[in-house]
């Protein structure tokens, strides 16, 4: 693939063996990931919650949930797959409610999860939803779909971002500096394969935040 002239000259990266020898430390890396899990690109600028929730639903099993379908259900009587698409439907919303809607919300935690907690969720084949509060205002929902411990001991997470796509990032940076310093992981949304519901599902959490 040729790149624009102003990005040249390209530099060849050293082969893995040379890099490994040059790296500090040693040992083998380890990792875990959710095979088959991906978050689709959000179809409206404020629909990170719809993208994450519908993607989680489709990971757990074949469903009819689409982004606009989740939005229509949550924002009724708006028709987000039709006449209201792109207008009133394009608004921030609550991920816990959207996950509840699709039947895969377990619980919410008003904090980040430790790396071991991420490993546990991925090991249990459960995507973990995360709310990032941008430094300077606004927020965004993503999901974690994997982890990696590099040979030098560095901890990484695989972020499934409905805006940017798949992002690999150091765990510590994801907690407090997703794009820049101060982008904080404020809430964790634990999911479950099959939600046992009674009386129409879990009640909305009055303290859950919205994001887009």
């Amino acid at each position: 693939m040729a790149l624009a002239g102003f990005l040249n000259p390209l530099q060849e990266l050293a082969p893995p063996m040379q890099m490994a020898e040059a790296a500090d430390g040693g040992g083998a890396s380890s990792s875990g990931s959710l095979q088959g899990f991906a978050v689709s690109q959000q179809q409206e600028s404020e629909w990170c919650w719809a993208a994450v929730s519908s993607s989680v639903a489709n990971f757990y099993g074949p469903t009819q949930w689409t982004q606009c379908g989740v939005a229509s259900a949550e924002l009724a009587p708006l028709n987000c797959c039709g006449s209201d698409a792109g207008g009133a439907c394009n608004q921030p919303w609550y991920l816990d409610r959207a996950l509840t809607r699709v039947g895969h919300f377990d619980h919410i935690s008003a904090s980040s999860a430790p790396f071991a907690g991420v490993q546990a969720e991925i090991g249990g084949r459960r995507p973990l939803g995360c709310r990032i509060a941008w430094a300077g205002g606004g927020a965004h929902f993503v999901a974690l779909g994997g982890w990696l411990i590099a040979a030098d001991g560095s901890l990484y997470v695989n972020v499934c971002d409905p805006l940017y796509g798949p992002v690999s990032k150091k765990y510590d940076d994801f907690v407090s500096a997703y794009i820049t310093a101060g982008d904080d992981w404020t809430h964790s949304y634990f999911t479950i394969g099959t939600m046992l519901v009674a009386g129409g599902g879990a009640a909305p959490n009055p303290n859950s935040p919205i994001s887009a």
């Binding site: 693939m1 790149l3 624009a4 002239g5 102003f6 990005l7 040249n8 000259p9 390209l10 530099q11 060849e12 990266l13 050293a14 082969p15 893995p16 890099m19 490994a20 040059a22 790296a23 890396s29 690109q41 959000q42 179809q43 409206e44 600028s45 404020e46 629909w47 792109g86 394009n90 608004q91 921030p92 941008w134 430094a135 300077g136 205002g137 606004g138 965004h140 990696l148 590099a150 040979a151 030098d152 560095s154 990484y156 805006l163 940017y164 796509g165 798949p166 992002v167 690999s168 990032k169 150091k170 940076d173 500096a177 997703y178 794009i179 820049t180 310093a181 982008d183 919205i210 887009a212």
Partner: protein, 540 residues
């Protein structure tokens, strides 16, 4: 080369290489095992970020802070992005590895930027601009003017075809205003009394939008093209940017209005330079208001004198008028388009406007002064405004630009084959490819015109009321003064939305703004505010 990348951090490539080894080991190893090329990394682009609370007006770029560097990785698979972060008091370190469409889109943006600006006479620095709070990201060419190629949608999350994003700055301001409003509504759960519905007349809406002094900084130039305005480098109806340009127009035809006929150019190369770039001048121009007070009677008299002089003044490529007091037919007998318009504006202003020569230079000057952008179609209206329209050299087969004044749907210009002249403005042919700005009030118009529901506002004939009807769409030209000029378009748009207008678009900057919106309230008649110089119902 017109696009450059500054040197990246000394260890940047090593940092990226280690991250690829850690995070993409299968890909790198597979490439080597297969005897293929190992992944390659590009030169880095500095990566900037703007926070939501710094995005309050179109000058927000000055608040962009460099947070690191972005590299593209190619070879042995799909493109990827590696970010290296930079902190003030520490060594650079790995930030992120991004796979997938976003990386492909950045590569496309870089290709397009190189096509469009790689041979530009000005120099640009390739940067990345991130505004995550409003879901916007772009390749940013920073130079004499700032150019953007969006790599994240920002409008509806949809990814349009890659084009230069001429509305990036304005969309960002509008999106930030909307985001702040939404966040405030959701968090506070308090009804905003300004959003409880229209209680008064349209003048109150506009006044509320204008009585703003959120910032004491002068607005910079707007970046957005108005609706119907052809995008730079992507003329309306032409192929998408990045594709072959429009077919050359027939030379010497009316599609190339400044192309000289026989006898109108003695030195085509020098004349073209003079027509496009004008005669050299020295000194900085004084600041001018964003809407001129132009004596159109003087301008029309000058045109008339040129057309009726003996000998008649004709077109001459690169020909200029010697002085402000030059007499047509005696002191000059030929003039090109920019020379004519320059003299017309100098004669019609008091004090004399320091308007430059050369249509390209004039275009840049008008843009930098913050005159409100308009459209070729809007210039068909007899709305009491004088507009100026520019046809760029690259949009003509002769590579000679053109400039005209427009008032009352008629041009005032000097064009090839005739010289000083006045023709119908139809917004077709070459006129459709022009860049149009609102320049002044037509002080010789007595008010009123043939267009229903269009108000030409001038002098004593200015109507005092106007009726907005439910579901109808309107375009108003606003003239601001004093602190009002500092109000951001996003803020004005937000207020208008809050009062019941939807799909609001506000363009322009400084003292002149053009606002469009659809009225969702009941039919209402109200007093027209003095800030409104024209208001027109537009088709929906």
């Amino acid at each position: 080369m017109a696009i450059k990348t500054p040197p990246g951090p000394a260890l940047g490539t090593q940092i990226v290489g280690r991250a690829v080894n850690d995070l993409m080991p299968d890909r790198a190893a597979a490439a080597v095992a297969a005897g293929g090329a190992a992944p390659q990394v590009s030169q880095p682009m500095p990566r900037y970020l703007v926070k939501l609370n710094d995005l309050t007006d179109v000058n927000f770029l000055v608040k962009a802070v460099q947070i690191g560097w972005r590299y593209l990785i190619v070879g042995a698979g799909p493109a990827a992005i590696a970010d290296v972060k930079q902190v003030p008091s520490g060594a650079p370190s790995f930030d992120s590895l991004i796979h997938g469409d976003f990386a492909d889109r950045l590569a496309q943006a870089a290709d397009l930027a190189a096509q469009q600006y790689g041979s530009h006479p000005d120099e640009f620095e390739a940067r990345i601009l991130e505004i995550p709070s409003i879901q916007m990201s772009a390749l940013w060419l920073h130079g004499p003017r700032d150019v953007f190629f969006s790599t994240l949608g920002g409008q509806s999350g949809k990814q349009p075809s890659m084009l230069e994003d001429t509305s990036f700055v304005l969309r960002a301001v509008q999106a930030a205003a909307a985001k702040r409003k939404t966040t405030t509504q959701k968090v506070d759960k308090m009804p905003n009394p300004e959003e409880t519905g229209l209680q008064g007349a349209i003048s109150e809406l506009i006044k509320a939008a204008l009585n703003l002094n959120e910032t004491a900084r002068q607005l910079g130039q707007g970046q957005v093209q108005g609706q119907g305005q052809p995008k730079r480098d992507a003329p309306s109806g032409g192929p998408a940017a990045g594709q072959p340009g429009p077919a050359p127009l027939p030379a010497g035809s009316d599609s190339d209005p400044a192309a000289p006929l026989a006898g109108e150019a003695y030195d085509l190369s020098a004349g073209r330079d003079l027509a496009n770039y004008g005669e050299p001048t020295g000194g900085a121009a004084a600041a001018v208001p964003a809407l001129l007070t132009l004596d159109m009677a003087q301008v029309r008299a000058f045109l008339h004198a040129c057309m009726t002089s003996t000998p008649r003044v004709t077109y001459g490529l690169g020909k200029k008028i010697p002085s402000l007091s030059s007499v047509p037919g005696r002191d000059f007998t030929q003039v090109d388009c920019s020379g004519f318009v320059r003299q017309a504006l100098r004669l019609g202003t008091n004090p004399t406007l320091a308007f430059p020569d050369g249509s390209v230079v004039q275009h840049d000057w008008i843009d930098k002064q913050g005159f409100a952008k308009s459209t070729p179609a809007a210039a068909k209206q007899s709305d009491g405004l004088v507009r100026i329209a520019f046809l760029r050299p690259q949009d003509t087969s002769s590579h000679i630009g053109h400039v005209v004044l427009i008032a009352g749907a008629r041009t005032l210009e000097s064009h090839g084959g005739t010289g000083p002249d006045s023709r119908d403005w139809t917004a077709t042919s070459w006129q459709a490819s022009t860049f149009v700005y609102v320049l002044a009030h037509d002080t010789s118009v007595a008010g009123g015109d043939a267009m229903p529901r269009t108000l030409a506002l001038a002098g004593a004939a200015r109507p005092t009321t106007f009726t907005v009807q439910h579901g109808h769409r309107y375009r108003a030209t606003l003239v601001l003064s004093g602190l009002e000029q500092f109000a951001s378009n996003g803020l004005i748009a937000g207020r208008l939305q809050g009062y019941g207008f939807s799909n609001v678009i506000v363009t322009g900057s400084g003292g002149t703004r053009v606002a469009e919106g659809t009225w969702n309230g009941p039919d209402t008649t109200g007093q027209l505010d003095s800030h409104i110089v024209s208001i027109v119902e537009i088709p929906v």
